[in-house]
Symmetry: C2
Subunit: 138 residues, 2 copies
DNA sequence: CTCAAAATATAGCCCAAGCTATATTTATTA
DNA sequence: TAATAAATATAGCTTGGGCTATATTTTGAG
């Protein structure tokens, strides 16, 4: 039992949940990138790269801290916790796989890169595994 | 010129915009389905199928009306405008194509159906065309 | 070392999307 | 046809995610 097909409501609720973590995923990925590129992640740089105002970035960083993904001290940069760094790595790998899959099925590179930024957050582990298998075929 | 590669900020902003219309797309698709299935779209049925409380559905229908996608009179059902019906058709077709593409690259059917509910809203026309071409190949 | 500039924080606003509780209207049935 | 049940609307709350304006802190010149 335990295995009736998911209802419409289940499916919609699941999509809503994924959406609510999408922004957090993009932030941790970006913070990880900034630290790798420049040694630190300043709020001003995060805001700039995300395309939002500085107070918006500050507020989202506060949420990352609340959720145990980042740390920071006033007027200092932002750092990822272990959990945050692990999430960033997973998110970055998934992002790349999604872009590669889109290109592999014939999506032009620029469209692939643009669409992947939203698509990635809805790709489950099962789908990701399928994408990887598809990319490995020949 | 007009063709520098999109910045990170552009890409993130675009994903945020798509996200803001995702719920409207799901609602018009669902309202169209209900009308096709049962002849009418009651707020209670919309809420039920979306997995939200009734006042939440009422409020979102109000937004659909504000955006010219639906109409309704107090204590009566919900109807789609021409624009709403056209959007519903496009969204439904895109939804099906996304599910088919996922299955075609090896995603198990249930995962495909679940993930498509979120993915669909980020698939651009260019990507959709590529998906269709890929599905038509042999 | 001081002071101006840059970075960050804070205050306060908006809207979307969710909720519960309750009032109102419509539909049904005794 | 009244009374009850069901559907819908409304009020009022929460949180997330955006913004501008401004206060505060840190940094870097001179
Ligand atoms: Mn993204
Ligand atoms: Mn990404
Ligand atoms: Mn959807
Ligand atoms: Mn859909």
């Amino acid at each position: 039992m335990t295995d009736a097909p998911p209802s419409d409501a289940d499916r919609f609720a699941r999509a809503r949940r994924k959406q609510s973590v999408a922004l957090l995923e993009d932030y941790v990925e970006l913070i990880g990138d900034l630290i790798a590129e420049t040694g630190e992640a300043r709020v001003a740089d995060i805001a700039d790269r995300m395309g939002v105002a500085q107070p918006t970035a500050t507020k989202t960083v506060a949420r990352l801290k609340r959720e145990g993904l980042a740390t920071s001290r006033p007027y200092r940069g932002v750092f990822l916790t272990e959990a945050g760094a692990a999430l960033a790595d997973r998110v970055r790998a998934r992002h790349r796989t999604v872009v590669a899959l889109l290109i592999a099925v014939g999506v032009p590179q620029e469209a692939a890169e643009l669409d992947a930024e939203g698509i990635e957050h809805h790709v489950s582990d099962r789908s990701l595994a399928a994408f990887e298998a598809f990319l490995k075929r020949d």
